[in-house]
């Protein structure tokens, strides 16, 4: 690391430490503050509220009631779309939202784990997007061309995702380890290369659907898709089980294995890790390859589970959503799991919200970003909700005061 960093006088707790060191109150505060801000935004852009605001000084309650109605209706629709639909005619229709949430959360779990794992080794893998695409490309290609029974095809699809994403992530780790180039820049560039590669390959005979002029692949055959877990009306597929296994694997890797210990040591302090005889370069390559493989599995789940076809939008905005998931999950495997479920619920509920109340689904992005920003800056949330500062997280004024106290 650079010289200045060695000389930096008072080591600040890293963002990770801050995120991990926060308490439940902070998390709730962050979510609450985000929902309030989001609600204000929904209310302010609501046509009925704007109408009522034109005579605000005559009858201010009208504006407030209309705004309140707009925001709560949107959030109710979000909730119903994400968890439970009381208006459903059958039991299956009533619980369908929660299965949708799990389906949407599945690739988020994989990609979130990918980002979280790299965070723990001190790397910022913005490249999950590219790794998801490569995973989707390789496993999609395998699924279309395997021509084997399902029992043989599905493991191959999973392997394809691991290899595709692993190589794409491994390249970043290799370049970082061998040349010292920064992984953030490398991974952003690899994302764009992957996105262009996807469109290019979807226009070549290798993947393009026969007779189509659009960049889209053949539909996956019945033997080449993940089996459904709950039967036909529900989309929840095998990918969710694999995602659970991945959470267990990463949990074991980080907390129980020698490799995980090394990765965490490198993440905590690369200089100390070197002194202790840990090869930092090798750790970077390995962690980026594993991280890429996890992201690649998100691509497999998208292709073989949810979409059943390779299209240009196969990765959506998974890569960037994964960063917010990992940040909210405090870079722990189970934290990431629950964060992915929450953001999966946002996504699934957002669709219902948009259809039934006309509130655009992009509000979900705003909520996600606000939650992460608030969680990353505990003093701000404490200031908003007047929460106590438990152990003096170095706040400028208090730090100065304590210093004066020491001098006195």
């Amino acid at each position: 690391m650079s010289e200045t960093q060695k000389n930096t006088p008072a080591p600040q707790p890293s963002t990770w430490a801050k995120i991990a060191g926060g308490n439940i109150g902070l998390s709730i505060g962050a979510v609450l503050a985000s929902f309030i801000l989001g609600g204000l935004l929904i209310a302010a852009t609501d046509p009925a509220t704007q109408k009522a605001a034109s005579y605000f000084f005559a009858r201010p309650t009208d504006t407030l009631v209309a705004g309140w109605t707009a925001a709560t209706e949107a959030y109710m629709a979000l909730f119903q779309g994400a968890f439970y639909n009381p208006a459903g005619r059958s039991f299956a229709q009533q619980i369908r939202p929660i299965t949708e949430t799990l389906t949407v959360a599945t690739p988020l779990i994989f990609a979130g784990l990918a980002v979280a794992l790299s965070f723990r080794a001190g790397l910022f893998n913005i490249g999950a997007q590219g790794q998801v695409i490569l995973g989707a490309l390789v496993s999609g290609w395998v699924a279309i061309n395997a021509g084997l029974p399902a029992a043989a095809t599905i493991p191959l699809i999973i392997l394809g995702g691991i290899i595709g994403g692993g190589i794409w992530g491994g390249i970043i780790g290799l370049l970082k380890a061998k040349t010292g180039a920064h992984e953030v820049i490398l991974s952003i560039m690899m994302n764009y290369i992957a996105a262009n590669l996807l469109v290019y390959l979807l226009k070549t005979p290798l993947l393009q659907r026969e007779g189509s002029s659009n960049p889209i692949s053949e539909q996956l055959g019945a033997d080449a898709v993940y089996p459904l877990l709950l039967g036909n009306p529900f989309r929840l597929h095998l990918g969710f089980i694999i995602a659970l296994l991945a959470v267990l694997f990463v949990s074991w890797l980080l907390n129980r294995s020698t490799l995980g210990f090394r990765l965490r040591a490198v993440g905590a302090n690369p200089n100390a890790a070197t002194t202790a005889g840990i090869s930092v370069s090798n750790s970077y390559i390995i962690v980026m390859a594993i991280s890429g493989a996890l992201a690649g599995l998100a691509g497999s789940a998208q292709v073989a589970g949810t979409e059943k076809v390779i299209s240009t939008g196969i990765a959506g905005s998974l890569g960037f959503d994964a960063i917010t998931v990992a940040l909210l999950g405090r870079s722990t495997p189970w934290g990431t799991f629950w964060a992915a479920l929450l953001f999966g619920a946002f996504r699934a509920g957002g669709v219902t919200m948009q259809v039934s109340t006309g509130t655009d689904i992009d509000i979900v992005l705003v909520l996600q970003a606000l939650i992460v920003l608030f969680i990353a800056a505990p003093p701000l949330v404490r200031a908003i909700f007047r929460l106590p500062n438990p152990q003096g997280v170095p706040h400028k004024k208090s730090a100065r005061k304590s210093k004066k106290a020491q001098e006195a």
Binding site: Q12, T45, L175, K178, I185, N196, K203, I323, A369
Partner: protein, 425 residues
């Protein structure tokens, strides 16, 4: 955390460095097979005297076969010389690299143009379009430069461009005045910067994380407001008047360069001004010296009485205003309405241009122009009906950037203190 190479891996000076000669040889051989052996047998008609009234030249007629072979042979010769010089321990002249890359690029260009179904175009419009398209990337990279030279990573360029584009469209449409739209674009970029400064300087959140999250926030916010407010009232809120384009007399009559540089949109002229000012301010003023000092060694600067965090905050805000001007390109120059996520990752390319340009104004400008050229080339080639896949061309800037940061095309080193928050003891 530095955004570039760490200085640990510098090779001893005496060792023979085979890296560049080998790269040259491989590229020369590859291009011989492609642009020499597989050159299309057509003739390219390249207009060079367009829009210059006093000059009357016929379009140049170029044979891709002849030029492909010429360029390939020259490249092979240069690669051979580089190998010979390295073997015998002679220094390779500084002229070699630019000459090689010139023939490589023009050879490839001739080949790509020859592969179109109707290879007839104007050099002036090709370059003119390239300059215009690179506007957001140039402003964006200048915004990045102002931040990073003072030690703050600016991943939020994308968000600054996007909010700039959004507010330009909104205010421009409401006031029917593109100049107010431009001001609003600067304010939009400034707002994003304010968030970046608040979280990275006051709350000491990791700068890269703030940048990424702020981008998500801006993308969501503008997308939401677009769908909910702008789109339903498009005629009032989302149809901005364009910024004017005009010709600068005399200068615009210089052959080729005149119409390319001096018959442009007013935002291009503003860009010349901004880049010039930043170059001057960074290298010749007290503010510039302090900015560079704070970016390299904040503690030393602090010891000498520079208010590190105040200077950084000021620079971040200024950077937002500059990048926001680039955002105005999308809604006041390119088209006249906003659309969700219309910046399409150009903020990240601007960041790449900054790094590829080694954190200097002129370098970043050149890199952004190069990326703009490759962007325009994609459009031109697809209009001319090319058989070369445009996606592969689109990859080029990113590949080049990877090569640049990995040190394969010269090493790119950023300000030493970039990315680390400064806490006064």
């Amino acid at each position: 955390m530095t955004l570039t190479a760490e200085s640990s891996s510098s090779a001893p000076a005496q060792a023979k460095n085979w890296k560049n000669p080998v790269i040259y040889t491989v590229l020369a051989l590859l291009s011989t097979f492609l642009i020499g052996l597989r050159a299309p047998a057509t003739t390219i008609s390249l207009g060079v005297a367009d829009q210059v009234s006093w000059l009357d030249l016929d379009p140049l007629q170029i044979s891709p076969v002849a030029y492909g072979w010429t360029a390939s042979l020259i490249m092979l010769a240069l690669a051979g010389y580089a190998l010979y010089a390295t073997q015998t321990g002679r220094p390779i002249g500084r002229w070699l690299a630019p000459t090689f890359w010139f023939f490589f690029a023009t050879g490839l260009l001739t080949w790509a143009l020859g592969s179109t179904s109707n290879p007839s175009l104007s050099l002036v419009s090709l370059l003119n379009g390239a300059v215009l398209l690179s506007i957001p990337m140039i402003f964006g990279s200048m915004g990045g430069l102002l931040c990073e030279r003072s030690g703050i990573v600016n991943i939020a360029i994308e968000g600054q461009l996007l909010l700039g584009a959004f507010s330009a469209a909104l205010v421009g449409s409401m006031t029917k005045n593109p100049w107010l739209g431009l001001l609003a674009a600067m304010a939009g970029g400034l707002l994003v910067s304010a968030l970046l400064a608040l979280f990275s300087i006051k709350y000491l959140v990791d700068q890269v994380i703030v940048g990424v999250v702020v981008n998500v926030l801006v993308s969501g916010l503008t997308g939401f407001l677009f769908a909910r407010v702008l789109e339903p009232n498009a005629s009032v809120l989302n149809s901005a008047p364009r910024l004017p384009a005009f010709e600068i007399p005399v200068l615009s009559q210089i052959p080729v360069l005149g119409p390319v540089l001096f018959n442009q949109n007013v935002l291009v002229y503003l860009m010349y001004l901004v880049v010039g000012l930043i170059w001057f301010a960074l290298n010749k003023t007290r503010w510039g010296l302090r900015t560079r000092a704070v970016g390299e060694h904040p503690k030393a600067a602090d010891t000498l009485g520079v208010k590190v965090n105040r200077l950084r905050a000021g620079n971040v805000l200024l950077a937002g205003a500059v990048a926001g001007m680039g955002g105005a390109f999308f809604t006041l120059v390119s088209v006249s309405s906003f659309n969700s996520d219309m910046t399409a990752g150009q903020g990240y390319i601007a960041l790449a241009a900054l790094i590829f340009g080694r954190w200097t104004p002129i370098g970043a400008l050149s890199a952004a122009l190069l990326f703009g050229f490759s962007l325009n080339l994609q459009y031109v080639l697809s209009i001319l009906g090319t058989s070369v896949p445009t996606e592969l061309l689109a990859m080029m800037p990113y590949l080049v950037t990877i090569f640049a940061v990995a040190g394969l095309v010269g090493r790119s080193r950023g300000p030493a203190a970039v990315g680390t928050a400064y806490v006064k003891e």
